[in-house]
Every structure is written in structure tokens, then in C-alpha cells.
């Protein structure tokens, strides 16, 4: 397979579009947790009960279309190869938790991969919608429409006082988890982000590093999401998140300007060193790759490169994950072999830009 056609298959179409504030915000995700009334939650349910859920989904929603989310297709976890499941995780279409589940678990995905419904994960349904850039309002609106469409055919577990009932007490009420993925290299470089986190937490929002363990942000990519789901309306939750994200965008832009102004040469040096590593290395670990990609992306954003597209960070962060490397290689790779393959893909991908 050529690299270009591999990229086309590996990168979800929506990811290749540029959304609002795309210099800093990579993507927006809206997730709604929903359950069937009268079916026990997956944590205790017997297989035949979970089958009621999966059969219902297959009967009513498989091969259906809803607005621009065409060609919804159901994949059963038990029928997928481990590497296919990993690829779904790396595309964020399923959670690592769902990947481990076998019985009557699956995912319904739209053709454009913008919508996925995890079935019999921790809850019966986890509806997720993705958008490029910062699009919380639109995301919520479309999630609501999709939710109403599902509710035409499903009796949801809902209580007047507690709202949408979920397996975990942390999701009850709205069942909403809205998150925004942001690239914040300048706030990280200047150690400002650490000082902002406590204030953000006070608002019931959480900041976490992506692609890393714990709170470490590999590739300077952070996820900001709401923690509280009960007692606040979805609109209020989104509004708070929006205002914090806007603040972060403003601060990141300011920090970038400062960097350029005060330490132009140091910044340029850092960016071009990273570019050199990406362009010429033969073996590269995922952590180093992420760091260099973040530097390169920052370099693109501040205008050091005119011939490189911004989507390179999002693309290569996905492409250089283990499952995709192995899919591209079409064989199982040891960690060492992966580091070699990773370097190759990055060199080839940069080559595509320069040809």
C-alpha cells in the first residue's frame, strides 16, 4: 500500500478538515452515556441480557444513516482481530476498556468516523461525536439530535430527579463528557500550564495530558473536559468549558508571541533541530517523535515553514502509534522494529510534503 492511501484509511476524514482555532485546538469530542431501562448494566448483566441491547442496536440502527452521519456499521468486538481493535482505540473510536470486552460488546461507526456508539461498554450506550477544531456548541447540538433519534426507538433509563442513569456515579445526570484536545507547547515550555490547572479544576473541569501516562502530556497535547455531570445543564457545562478553552487559547497565543519576541533564536534552534531529527532519524521512540512533532507543529504555526501542512501533527501522532505502524508494515513488530518503522513513516510523510 502506498503511504498516501494508508493515511487515507488510517486518518478519519473529519481529522483532515480544519476547524475553528485549529492552530491550537485539534478536536472537540462530545460524549453522552445512555442506558436501556430494565436491562442491568454491563458490569453485572448476564450475556443474554446484554444481547437484548446489542440485538436492538443491530436491528434498528445498523446500516442506517442520520443526517451527514451516513452508513452506520456495527462491529462486534468478538469478531475483530486484536490489531483491528487497537487501531480503533488509536483512532479514539473505542475505549481501551471496550477493546478488552468480548461478550455482546461492539461499536457502531458512521462512514466518516465522526460518530461512534460504543455498545455494552461501562454503559449500554456511549454516543461520541468528534469535530475538528473548537466546536462545542455545534457538537452538543448534533449530539442532542442524534440522541433524540436514538430515543425514538430506545426507552432510556431516566429519572426525574437524577436524570440519565449511568453505571458510574460520576456520569449520572447529563451523562455528558465534553472534551477539547489542545496543543499547548508554549504554555508548557514556559511552565505556565501547571499554574493554570488548579484554577481550571476549581470550575469543575479537568486538564489531562493525552497519549501519556498519568498527567504527563506527551507531545504537549492536553485534554480539557468537564468533571461534573449532575446539577448543571448541558449548555452551562459547555459554556464553562468554552470560556476556559478560549482563555487557554488566548494565553497560548500570547506565550507564543513572547517566545518569538524574546527568544527567537532559541525557539528557531529548537524547532529546526526537531525537524532535523524527524527528517533524518532512522530509529525513533514514540516519546521523542511526539516531542519533535510538537516542536515542528509550533514551527509551522509561527511561520517557519510554508510548505508543511498543519495536519502533520494530528496525522503523525495517530500514524506512529503501535497498531498503525504494524498495519502499515502488515506484520507484527517488536518495539525495536516499531521504532525503525516509525522513523521511516515520518521521513516518508515529510517527503510527501516536499515533493
Amino acid at each position: 500500500m502506498s503511504l498516501q492511501s494508508f493515511i487515507d484509511s488510517a486518518i478519519s476524514p473529519w481529522m483532515q478538515e480544519e476547524g475553528p482555532d485549529h492552530d491550537i485546538v485539534l478536536s472537540t469530542r462530545i460524549r453522552l452515556a445512555r442506558n436501556f431501562t430494565d436491562v442491568p448494566f454491563p458490569i453485572v448483566a448476564e450475556e443474554e441480557k446484554l444481547k437484548i441491547v446489542s440485538n436492538w442496536i443491530k436491528t434498528h440502527f445498523n446500516q442506517q444513516s442520520f443526517n451527514q452521519y451516513e452508513g452506520l456499521e456495527y462491529f462486534e468486538m468478538s469478531t475483530l482481530q486484536p490489531i483491528e481493535k487497537r487501531a480503533l482505540v488509536e483512532k479514539h473510536l473505542i475505549s481501551p476498556y471496550l477493546m478488552e470486552k468480548e461478550k455482546e460488546s461492539g461499536v457502531l461507526v458512521s462512514k466518516n468516523e465522526q460518530v461512534s456508539l460504543m455498545i455494552n461498554e461501562e454503559d449500554h450506550i456511549r454516543l461520541q461525536l468528534y469535530f475538528p477544531g473548537l466546536q462545542l456548541d455545534r457538537g452538543l447540538e448534533e449530539a442532542f439530535h442524534m440522541d433524540d433519534w436514538l430515543e425514538e426507538k430506545i426507552d432510556y433509563a431516566f429519572d426525574e430527579k437524577r436524570g440519565y442513569l449511568t453505571s458510574c456515579p460520576t456520569n449520572v445526570g447529563t451523562g455528558l463528557r465534553a472534551s477539547v484536545m489542545m496543543h499547548l507547547p508554549a504554555l508548557t515550555l514556559t511552565s505556565k500550564i501547571g499554574k493554570m490547572v488548579p484554577a481550571i479544576n476549581q470550575l469543575g473541569l479537568v486538564v489531562r495530558g493525552m497519549y501519556g501516562e498519568g498527567s504527563e502530556a506527551v507531545g504537549n497535547i492536553y485534554q480539557i473536559s468537564n468533571q461534573i455531570t449532575l446539577g448543571r445543564s448541558e449548555q452551562d457545562i459547555i459554556e464553562d468549558l468554552q470560556s476556559v478553552v478560549e482563555k487557554l487559547i488566548e494565553q497560548e497565543r500570547f506565550a507564543r508571541e513572547m517566545l518569538v519576541e524574546q527568544s527567537e533564536l532559541r525557539l528557531e534552534d529548537r524547532v529546526f533541530r526537531s525537524y532535523g531529527i524527524l527528517k533524518y532519524s532512522r530509529i525513533i521512540e514514540s516519546k521523542e517523535a511526539a516531542k519533535c512533532l510538537s516542536d515542528l507543529r509550533l514551527g509551522i504555526d509561527v511561520g517557519y515553514f510554508n510548505h508543511l501542512s498543519r495536519s502533520i501533527l494530528n496525522e503523525l501522532m495517530v500514524l506512529t502509534q503501535p497498531a498503525f505502524l504494524q498495519q502499515y508494515a502488515q506484520e507484527t513488530l517488536t518495539p525495536k522494529q516499531r521504532d525503525i518503522k516509525r522513523a521511516t513513516i515520518i521521513r516518508e510523510r515529510l517527503g510527501l510534503e516536499e515533493s
Binding site: 453485572v44 478488552e100 425514538e152 455531570t229 449532575l230
Partner: protein, 181 residues
């Protein structure tokens, strides 16, 4: 105790799973738990373990005593999924929608802690199943707005809104709001 999976790191997570009513216990390190997908670092804000550890302690001291187990006849048990309060407190997850009613008396302190003091839902309502509830919420919203209008001494608008509320309460649909000058 060392991690049951890698046998290298100390086991910092002690997970209890109920699969088809079968209880299994697992002692693992953070790293292995993430790798195996037992916890979701990328999805939920902080791990459920962090959030719920200590949360139930103040009202479930009983559950930590070895002498007391599932066979205790006085134990609060969900009639639909058979989950006991003891199990709920340990796992930190409800077994089914009916558990909410079963454990109702214990839930407010938990929700308050997890959701910054909140205990009641104020958001979306299912469209098809809960039409009446939606009407009720709409009337409540209008009432609140009416108060503001009166405070602002905007009596003309307030009168209009009051008529609309009356119409809603007498069972007319919300769509025939009249917009006359």
C-alpha cells in the same frame, strides 16, 4: 503486595469485578491496569479509584469487616440486579437503573462529593418518554423569567408571559404562543 500481572511494581490498585455475579479480585499496578484497560486514563477525568476511594468509607465501615458478607439478610439489596449496598460501595458502580431507588437514602452525600454539591438533574429530558416532564420544566423556566421581568418592571412583557404560562398549565401546547404587538 506485588502486581499480579508484571510482578515488578507494587500493586497500588485493588480491583473487584462482578462478572455474572462472580466476584474476582485483582491486585495490579497503575501501569498494568491502564494497559489492560481496567481503568481509563484517557476517558474519565481522574480514575474512578482516585475519585471514589475514601468516598464510601464514612458510611460503609461495616462493609470492611470480614465477618459481614453478602449473606447478611439485613443487607440492602437491589431487587432487580441483586447488587448489595456492600458491593456497590466497594465497586463504586450501580448494577442497574433500579439500584438508584434501592440505595436512594445513601446517594446524596456521594453525589454531592462527586458533583460539587449537586444532587439533582437540571439538563436534557428524553423527548418521547417524558413529554409531561418537559412541559413542567418549561413552565418552571417561564416562571423564573416572569420574576425577572417583574423585577425589571417590564410589566407589559410580564403580562404576556403570565398568559402563556396559564395557557400551558391549562394543557395547551407550547407551540401556540401568540406574538401579537
Amino acid at each position: 503486595m506485588e502486581c499480579e500481572i508484571c510482578h515488578e511494581n507494587p500493586a497500588t490498585l485493588h480491583l473487584t469485578n462482578y462478572i455474572n455475579g462472580q466476584k474476582t479480585e485483582l491486585h495490579v499496578c497503575q501501569k498494568c491496569a491502564m494497559e489492560k484497560g481496567y481503568i481509563e486514563p484517557k476517558d474519565d477525568a481522574y480514575t474512578i479509584h482516585d475519585l471514589l476511594s475514601g468516598l464510601f468509607n464514612f458510611n460503609s465501615n461495616l462493609s470492611n469487616q470480614p465477618g459481614i458478607n453478602k449473606s447478611n439478610q439485613n443487607e440492602l439489596t437491589c431487587p432487580h440486579c441483586k447488587m448489595t449496598y456492600h458491593q456497590f460501595a466497594k465497586v463504586g458502580k450501580f448494577g442497574c437503573a433500579h439500584c438508584y431507588k434501592t440505595f436512594e437514602d445513601h446517594l446524596n452525600p456521594i453525589f454531592r462529593k462527586v458533583h460539587s454539591g449537586n444532587t439533582e438533574h437540571t439538563g436534557k429530558i428524553p423527548k418521547r418518554q417524558h413529554v409531561h416532564l418537559q412541559q413542567k420544566r418549561l413552565i418552571q423556566d417561564y416562571r423564573n423569567r416572569l420574576k425577572t421581568l417583574i423585577d425589571e418592571e417590564n410589566f407589559e412583557e410580564a403580562a404576556k408571559l403570565r398568559d402563556r404560562i396559564k395557557a400551558l398549565e391549562s394543557g395547551e401546547s407550547s407551540s401556540d404562543s401568540n406574538e401579537e404587538e
